[in-house]
């Protein structure tokens, strides 16, 4: 699981955007992005990581401080989805939005598995 730095650290935003840019550029794994800080986002990210741990073609990114994404149009959709209530955002290997999870579903292993599988299969949200 990749945990991005926060704006509270030195060059946190730049380093976070650089790390996330690497995720954008790679074509190996689909990604489940979990924005937010606190126990719940950490639990969601942890559960997603359990569903990804023996599969090198799945990745999890925890963004404790979504503010680090501000200013970069590539990450605007992530911020919008988060603002709309998404607690987990599944992205294809081309960093396209596949699906979002919120509420009980975000903690549900079955929902997480389906989100990973759909994103891996290249299913894009309409």
């Amino acid at each position: 699981m990749l945990i991005l730095p926060t704006t509270a650290t030195t060059d946190g935003q730049a380093r976070a955007q650089k790390l996330l840019q690497a995720v954008v550029d790679q074509r190996v794994h689909c990604t489940l992005v979990v924005p937010g800080d606190g126990d719940r986002p950490r639990e969601i990210a942890s559960r997603a990581d359990r569903r990804a741990e023996d599969n090198p073609f799945r990745g999890v990114v925890l963004i404790p401080d979504p503010g680090v994404l501000a200013g970069n149009p590539q990450f605007k959709q992530l911020l919008d989805e988060h603002a709309a209530g998404a607690e987990a955002i599944a992205l294809t290997i081309r960093f396209e939005l596949s699906s979002t999870l919120a509420g009980d579903e975000a903690l549900d292993f079955l929902a997480l598995e389906r989100a990973f599988a759909k994103a891996g299969a290249g299913e894009v949200a309409k």
Partner: protein, 620 residues
């Protein structure tokens, strides 16, 4: 750690997927031959397999498969059907997961081999996408299964402590399978079904299977394959036979024809007199049975005749059918036109029904005589017996048949012995159920067919059969019988008597004189793993030494009529021999110790012929 994980997953992926289709008892039992040297050879479940006479056969029962078979058995009740459906779905899910794991391992290996690039080749990207689609379909399948089974689907995707997600799903599926199989076992046990296994040697001798029957275990004996299998008594009998043949047989051709024809000649008298007794028609009594009125059956003498005739008529019909060409030839006065096959069919018919015919003819005759006594003084039954009175001329055929049976009883005993042609092979396999100890499915164990504890000999057959039986012992599902032929694998020695046609080495072809002899030859039986080995085993070549009694000496007389040389009364020839088809065909060369002359010979042995049921003199 991840490397270990992938090795583990790869081994799961490599495991063969269970077949989705369920065959009753098809794959429930696996037989493995363990030789005296400890080599293990799987026994094919179909066809005829060969096993060494010093081997044991391990019988492994796949309990899971048995329970599947029960749930898929024809006629299984409604309760078994959902279990069967669940097992089919679980099989399919497990198969899908194994395929996915293999894909995952292959993709990971390809990616690593390419240097783990952040942008791998398009082909690998497409592969990853295909894998994800398979994962999606698999997850949907899990959801459908869980929904149908009334379970939360999360059970199958929630990682368990100490296990990865994939391992957890494997384990959850396996746990579910065990649970369903336990349901199947409970269902089967509550239905009273039991598991039974039986093994039998040629001629219906049961073989004890540990845990599965109460038959006594035989004495442990390992057969020395380099010691001749034929006893001295048998060799002696064969040698006497060979001596007789050496005197009588001039030509090897037509042995079987001669045998059948000689048997037919012996049989001709019996069939001819039988035909005469029944006025040329073995079916002459059939209308009599039908003509006896039901109203007369209240009289015990009539009922007795009716019953005895009811037994006798089918026996006569069977002989009439089996011997139709022979009976026709007898009517024409010559057996010349009867083929060997027709003759054999008749021999078998008489062999099968002859003894019965004699018994039934006597019983029917006695019943008919009692009826005749009644007909003389019918008393109050006069009216009822009137239709029977009209049958008297036809009924006299029965009394004639009785007289025929009385006359031929002694000669039948001799004839029956003569006609005893290898009936072993035709003997039907019979098992008795009273000594079987059947098992509940939860108590199934493996067992062993230990040939070393059986009274086996080369050429015997071992039959093995698993089955599922009801509580009352009746069969519910009968598995296929596995047939095994007992052979001597590897090198072995055979000793047998035979007849050689000896030609003195004198630069002249012939004359050949018949000579009895004894041969000891080494043979080798290959494990029949290929066509070449099977052909080699069929040809059964051998090499050995022979002892012949040639007759190469001669009394020489000079021009004055004076004897100048003697014909030794005893001559012994010793030499080497090569054989084909066991001892059947022999060619050899040797030296006559008394006449001091070399010879070569071509001959045949009697051991192989004896095993085929061919005898050249009764009682040998």
């Amino acid at each position: 750690m991840k490397r270990l994980l992938f090795v583990g997953l790869a081994s799961c992926a490599a495991a063969p997927a269970r077949p989705a289709s369920l065959q009753p008892l098809g794959d429930t039992v696996a037989l493995t031959e363990v030789t005296s040297s400890g080599d293990r050879h799987p026994v094919a479940s179909d066809g005829l397999s060969e096993v060494d006479l010093n081997s044991r056969i391990e019988v492994h029962v796949d309990r899971d498969q048995v329970e599947r078979s029960v749930s898929s058995a024809p006629g299984g009740d409604a309760a078994a059907q959902p279990i069967k459906a669940k097992l089919v779905q679980l099989d399919e899910l497990t198969r899908q997961q194994q395929v996915m794991v293999k894909q995952l391992v292959d993709l990971k290996a390809a990616w690593t081999a390419a240097g783990s690039p952040s942008v791998p080749a398009e082909a690998l990207q497409r592969g990853v996408q295909q894998l994800a689609r398979a994962q999606l379909a698999f997850t949907d399948g899990l959801v459908r299964y869980a929904s149908a089974a009334g379970q939360p689907a999360q059970t199958y995707v929630t990682p368990q402590p100490g296990l990865t997600a994939t391992q957890s799903t494997f384990k959850a599926l396996d746990d579910e399978r065990q649970r369903v199989l336990a349901q199947a076992a409970a269902l089967a046990n509550s239905s009273g079904l039991r598991w039974r296994m039986q093994a039998e040697l040629t001629q219906g001798k049961p073989i004890h299977l540990q845990n599965y029957d109460n038959y006594p275990d035989g004495t442990f004996t390992v057969i020395d394959k380099l010691a001749p299998q034929v006893s001295l008594k048998e060799i002696s009998a064969q040698f006497e036979e060979a001596k007789q043949l050496a005197r009588d047989v001039k030509d090897l051709s037509g042995l079987k024809d001669a045998l059948v024809k000689s048997a037919m000649s012996a049989l001709q008298g019996m069939l001819s007199s039988l035909q005469d007794t029944l006025r040329g028609d073995l079916t002459t009594l059939e209308p009599v049975v039908k003509a006896i009125p039901d109203t007369a059956l209240q009289i015990k003498e009539v009922a007795a005749v009716r019953k005895q005739l009811g037994d006798l008529v089918p026996t006569l019909a069977a002989i009439n059918t089996g011997c139709a060409p022979v009976l026709g030839a007898i009517k024409r006065g010559s057996l010349g036109g009867v083929t060997v096959a027709q003759g054999e069919a008749c021999l078998h018919a008489v062999q099968a029904h002859g003894a019965q015919l004699f018994d039934q003819a006597r019983s029917a005759g006695q019943a008919t005589l009692a009826l005749f006594d009644l007909l003389k003084n019918p008393g109050k039954f006069a009216a009822v017996l009137q239709p029977v009175q009209d049958l008297v001329p036809k009924l006299t055929a029965i009394t004639a048949l009785q007289q025929w049976a009385d006359t031929l009883t002694k000669s039948w005993a001799t004839l029956a012995q003569f006609l005893q042609l290898s009936s072993d092979a035709a003997a039907a396999t019979q098992w008795t159920s009273d000594q079987q100890t059947d098992h509940l499915f939860a108590e199934i164990t493996d067992t062993t067919i230990d040939l070393r504890r059986t009274d086996r000999k080369e050429g015997d057959f071992v039959y093995f059969r698993p089955s599922i039986v009801n509580q009352d012992g009746s069969a519910s599902v009968v598995g296929d019988t596995t047939d095994l032929r007992v052979v001597r694998m590897g090198a072995y020695i055979d000793v047998s008597a035979g007849v050689g046609f000896v030609d003195r080495k004198d630069n002249h072809w012939g004359p050949f004189s018949a000579a009895p002899g004894v041969l000891a030859a080494v043979h080798y039986h290959s494990r029949p793993t290929g066509t070449a080995a099977r052909i080699f085993n069929a040809v059964r070549p051998g090499v050995g030494i022979h002892f012949l009694y040639p007759d190469l000496g001669s009394k020489q007389v000079n021009a004055m009529g004076m004897a100048t040389g003697d014909d030794p009364s005893f001559e012994l020839g010793v030499g080497g021999t090569v054989t084909l088809f066991g001892d059947l065909l022999q060619v050899g060369a040797g030296y006559d110790l008394q006449v001091n002359a070399s010879y070569w010979y071509i001959g045949f042995g009697l051991d192989t012929l004896a095993k085929l049921g061919v005898r050249f003199s009764p009682g040998s």
